[in-house]
Symmetry: C2
Subunit: 721 residues, 2 copies
């Protein structure tokens, strides 16, 4: 859970009252913060500076498909509370070093690529604070040390933080933001340091602006990370080999993808673009890696220009097959650390560089801007300032070509890869469908086994259940690892939206309450994400009413038909209406994008009550449909399928446009014994029965024996009222 | 129709690709443009300058509760096509007058107050062009003359414009905006004149910006309107007396309303505010007028400061009773024309003036800014520039009080009156309910009469039907006039969303197609707006399916329950889902705000697919619920009720917040013979039957004889399937 889950540290770092995403951003939110605002302070991987290098030849094992128990033990073991004071003292000693000279240092949770899941060697905030929750920002001054985290982690942080740390409960009344606090505790005119790899350029600019109110200066220290300097026994950087993602799953070859990107570059009057989001690199190059848990990505940057492309990656990850694949596509290799020097030389050669400043880190953007300034000073022109006007990012593209000639400059605009990646091609859709059926077979075997075990009064903990599910998934062809840490919550634990069971404290799953299980798999050909809620005994009529209303929302969204160009948030109300009728709701979005054999959360589309995301749902996109209801200290309900957006063939087409709808990808029974069918309309009952009939049709041939019998029982129709 | 209907001339004047409201803004749109963007070029009433004065003692009759036939004849009579060339020649002659000196003149449709309905003496654009449609902007250069209007009016404009006019079909591919055209046809560096009363300050600024690309200068000619100068037999300004709106209908006395406003002024660090929207003035002062058709408002400005208030109005409209009423509330009187000089002297006295620049006209804001500059120059400080920074309108309120002392300045922020007026108090709600029941009685009598007439093969035209409806309304207690021009459309005419029948060309209403009737009344205690669609013969099964799907949307919105703080646009999809399922839609919003014995369209709330309006629906607000479907050249369907937002009492309250729902205000039968009940769910059939049972219960006691029998027949329940 800790490192693997999405965290919104911006909310704790900067005050953004009008942000479309409140701090309670959740794993299964309609869309991760990074895709919507891309303002989070992220970044921070390995550096060009020799002093920052980590030998990746001695790299530790990335976490791949290991059972939850093992995983958690390791992580807990690393948070040694006793050594904390020593760490803070060591860190503060560095403040006065001649090449440092700062009064405070901010340590966010991020890596250098806005990743949702990060490698252990980049978990600096957990190391320095001892707090292992996924979301949090640490700030250390010469006298004080404070950690900001959100409501999900208050209890955990209280336990894990040493007494020298102040816990800042983000979102609670009167709790300052990090910059408000810094402006309060420091005397005016201080120097506040950050590792610019760990912040997007936009986030660093916001930070700079906020602390300038007290005349503090933001110091970008790109040559070393202070936590790394004191980190004894720092985990090794990941070094597992990269593999080629077969064209039969990718559907489109690398050359075609690069051609598309080059036409975008040219259309925008640029000569090159830096791609820094790891899933964008993996998608563009039809390659997959093993560097972080749950996402098949590899640490790298990709630079694409009009005629060539360069991948910045550790060459020990590059196999002969990958090298051949890259060579065929005209992609050169350079060391991961070489990105900064390459950016500098691009500027010196007058490049017009496309940089998505909401995702590209401040180290890269700053060095490009400095190099542009140097160029301008040397050649006596002043184009940089004109073009790097953040308030009008489109300025560049509107400029006359003749004006643009002569010097380097930057176009600061959202990366064109996100939407191209979100719209799946035929092969990707086939892969998603196939992997979902195998995943459904694994889940059927699992649920059959579990039902039997609970009936036989076997004492199974939430963690053991998750481990067992992994066993069943592992037996499926093409399975690689979980696509996120399984959420396995019995009774009251199901009401904790971000619940992460630990072997030490987790509950036994019984037959007296609801059991919520949210899990997913990474397969060679696709990525799954499914939630089912069950009751192995007799649910109360209140639980049945809540479940039925969640189901009604799920059905309403599943059945929606809508005109093209409709943003996802328009549909969110359909999933909530039935709950609202009796004064219930859920505090998360309804749907997020999902990658094809890639990240389980991807943008730019989403279905959420947060209407900041205007991305229209498009044919070929995949979204989750996961309404829920959570009763504190009692139980949690969520029903999640993945849906493919498709064009629907209707008798009419008002406005001469296309109408879109959804096709289900997930085929696992929904628990009929939790349905109060008296609340359902005949159409809703028909939906449920049709769905179960499809589940049987598609999945039964993948099953044998008890599991097949279980599927038969679970797919029998409900009688119409 | 022409003058009375809402027009969005901004769309034709300025290019706004990201405007939340496309040009096809419609009468029954969820929210008039002015409330959403308040960027329209509006304004233009009567001026301080002697040369602009119109003797209001000889004023013409305002149009009040006269039959449609009479109304249209008059208006048509006034558009004499023969004299057009003469008008253009006369106008252009003025261009070179020493106190003018311009190369082009823009004539918008507006008055000086962003009014939806304007007095005839301000219909300058219809006068100069001959085109009498409600929406349009005329631009005259020394060589050319062009009129911009939208798709609703292309045919009418073709007929009415003389051959010297170019018709610009706004929204059609390749048609330039007015400023694009001006930038194209004029040589760079020209002087383009406007009457600054007819543009909001924001709109004038946008205009200035757009023409500056070709170095044109915007000339604000506040001392005279060029059209007025050449307008022979210009209609007199309205002069009917103002009346006091009884406290039993207003609910809250003027002193309390002014106290509220003063606390807003003080909280925002200001000393005074200018209110220029006519309904805001009428609401604040509990007064009603007769100056424009359909809205009980009177031309005026209101200036409120910390201790007093001044109403700028022609004193011949002020009766002894009104004078007494104003004196009791501490409101002084000044002539309407004195507003500019008052603004100047306010600035000279160092006022901090709250100006809603999206609605207050450019004449007022400009004179205030000039006066601030003069003050600064005289007193050697430079505060004006700091404060009048349009890009940070909140700057003023954030400034330290000590900085703000010493000189006048402006706070440019939305008027606080709009939301206060939108949330109805108990007396206003009672008045709305009462007037709706009387209106329902009038409609029942009308529909009973009409059904009989059609059955007897009486040839009734659409205009005659509208006139007859007015007769029935006039018999109701407290009826004043129609709240907008009745839309009476038979068959294909019903598909023209803005259809306005004329005696010359209208259809006879028969029993072979659908008949759509959208109408409303102004009563002493409330304002109504209702649409019903009927078929006096045998509707086709396709028409029944369309009607039933519109009805399903109407029911879904009516029955919605939603958490407080939900903006109206979130609910819009509920009204469309049933149509979308078969590829149908409608090109207008679903609901607009309605005033209490005030404007039939008011903001700030609305229910629309245009998600720019983030105003939350609040308890006490009134909205229309009017989904529709329009089949070109065939038929139109719309079902409209008014709804009151109310708090609902639910068994749960997730999040500890209030949940809101709707209470119906409109009680007139919905045509059961157009319902295909096989498409309806049991709950939808129950909704319809419950509604009709309420209609009978509430309205039958107001009816006798045939009308009562008609109501009985029309409220019989549909059988459940």
């Amino acid at each position: 859970m800790e490192a693997a889950h999405f965290s919104p540290p911006l909310s704790s770092l900067l005050s953004r009252p009008h942000s479309p995403l409140p701090p309670r951003s959740l794993r299964f939110l309609s869309i991760p913060l990074s895709f919507l605002t891309r303002l989070s302070p992220r970044g921070g991987a390995r550096r060009a500076s020799q002093s920052r290098r980590i030998s990746s030849s001695a790299a530790g094992d990335p976490i791949v498909a290991r059972p939850s128990k093992e995983l958690r033990k390791e992580r807990n073991g690393s948070s040694a509370a006793a050594a904390e004071d020593e760490k803070l003292r060591a860190l503060r000693q560095l403040f006065s070093r001649s090449d440092v000279g700062i009064d405070a240092y901010i340590i966010p949770s991020q890596d250098a690529h806005q990743s949702e899941f990060i490698a252990e060697c980049f978990m600096r905030r957990p190391y320095i604070t001892g707090f292992t929750g996924s979301a949090g920002t640490a700030v250390v001054t010469k006298e004080k040390a404070a950690l900001w985290t959100d409501g999900r982690y208050f209890l955990q942080a209280e336990k894990q933080l040493g007494r020298d740390w102040i816990l800042m409960r983000s979102g609670n009344h009167g709790v300052p933001t990090t910059t408000e606090w810094l402006n309060d505790v420091l005397t005016p005119g201080c120097r506040i340091g950050i590792d610019p790899f760990l912040f997007s350029f936009d986030a660093a600019e916001e930070l700079k602006e906020a602390i300038s109110k007290k005349n503090h200066e933001l110091i970008l220290m790109k040559d070393f990370n202070l936590v790394d300097e004191i980190w004894k026994e720092r985990p090794k950087a990941p070094s597992k080999p990269i593999r080629v993602h077969d064209i039969k799953y990718a559907g489109v070859d690398v050359s075609s993808k690069l051609s598309f990107l080059r036409s975008e570059i040219i259309d925008n009057g640029c000569t090159a673009i830096v791609i820094s989001m790891l899933d964008e690199v993996a998608w563009l190059l039809n390659m997959r890696g093993n560097d972080v848990p749950h996402s098949p990505v590899f640490y790298s940057y990709l630079l694409v220009d009009i005629t060539g492309a360069t991948l910045f990656v550790d060459d020990n990850k590059v196999t002969a097959e990958v090298l051949n694949h890259l060579t065929n596509a005209g992609v050169e290799l350079k060391p991961y650390e070489a990105i900064l020097s390459e950016i500098e030389s691009l500027a010196a050669n007058g490049a017009k560089l496309w940089l998505d400043t909401s995702s590209v880190n401040a180290a890269i953007v700053s060095i490009f801007r400095s190099a542009c300034d140097k160029f301008a000073a040397k050649h006596g022109n002043n184009t940089r300032k004109q073009v790097n006007n953040e308030s009008s990012p489109a300025l560049f593209s509107n400029m006359n070509k003749s004006i643009r000639n002569g010097g380097p400059n930057g176009l600061y605009k959202v990366s064109p890869v996100a939407i191209a990646k979100a719209v799946k091609n035929k092969a990707e859709i086939e892969g998603m469908k196939g992997s979902h059926l195998r995943d459904a077979a694994a889940l059927s075997e699992f649920w059959c086994w579990m039902e039997q075990a609970v009936l036989e009064n076997v004492e199974l903990t939430e963690v053991e259940v998750a481990d067992k599910l992994l066993e069943f998934r592992k037996k499926q062809e093409g399975f690689i690892e979980t696509s996120f840490d399984t959420i396995s919550g019995y009774g009251a634990n199901g009401a904790i939206i971000h619940y992460q069971a630990t072997p030490e404290s987790c509950s036994v799953v019984g037959h007296k309450n609801l059991f919520l299980l949210d899990s997913g798999g990474q397969y060679i050909d696709g990525t799954t994400d499914i939630t089912r809620t069950v009751h192995f005994g007799e649910p109360s009529s209140w639980q049945k009413e809540c479940f039925t209303r969640v189901l009604q929302g799920h059905i309403a969204l599943d059945q929606a038909i809508f005109p093209e160009r409709t943003p996802g948030f328009v549909l969110d109300v359909l999933a909530r209406s039935s709950l609202w009728k009796i004064g219930l709701d859920y505090r998360h979005g309804t749907g997020h994008g999902v990658g094809a054999a890639l990240n389980v959360h991807e943008g730019p589309q989403g279905i959420s009550f947060r209407y900041g995301n205007l991305t229209a749902l498009q044919k070929g996109m995949i979204v989750s449909n996961e309404p829920g209801y959570y009763e504190d200290n009692s139980f949690g309900i969520r029903i999640e399928n993945l849906l493919l957006v498709k064009e629907v063939d209707l008798p009419n087409s008002y406005g001469g446009i296309s109408y879109l709808g959804f096709e289900k990808l997930t085929f696992v029974p929904i628990e009929n014994n939790l349905v109060d069918s008296s609340l359902l309309s005949p159409m809703e009952i028909k939906w449920l029965n049709d769905y179960h009939s499809q589940v049987w049709e598609k999945v039964s041939s993948l099953l044998n024996g008890a599991a097949r019998d279980w599927l038969w029982r679970k797919t029998r129709p409900l009688p119409q009222n």
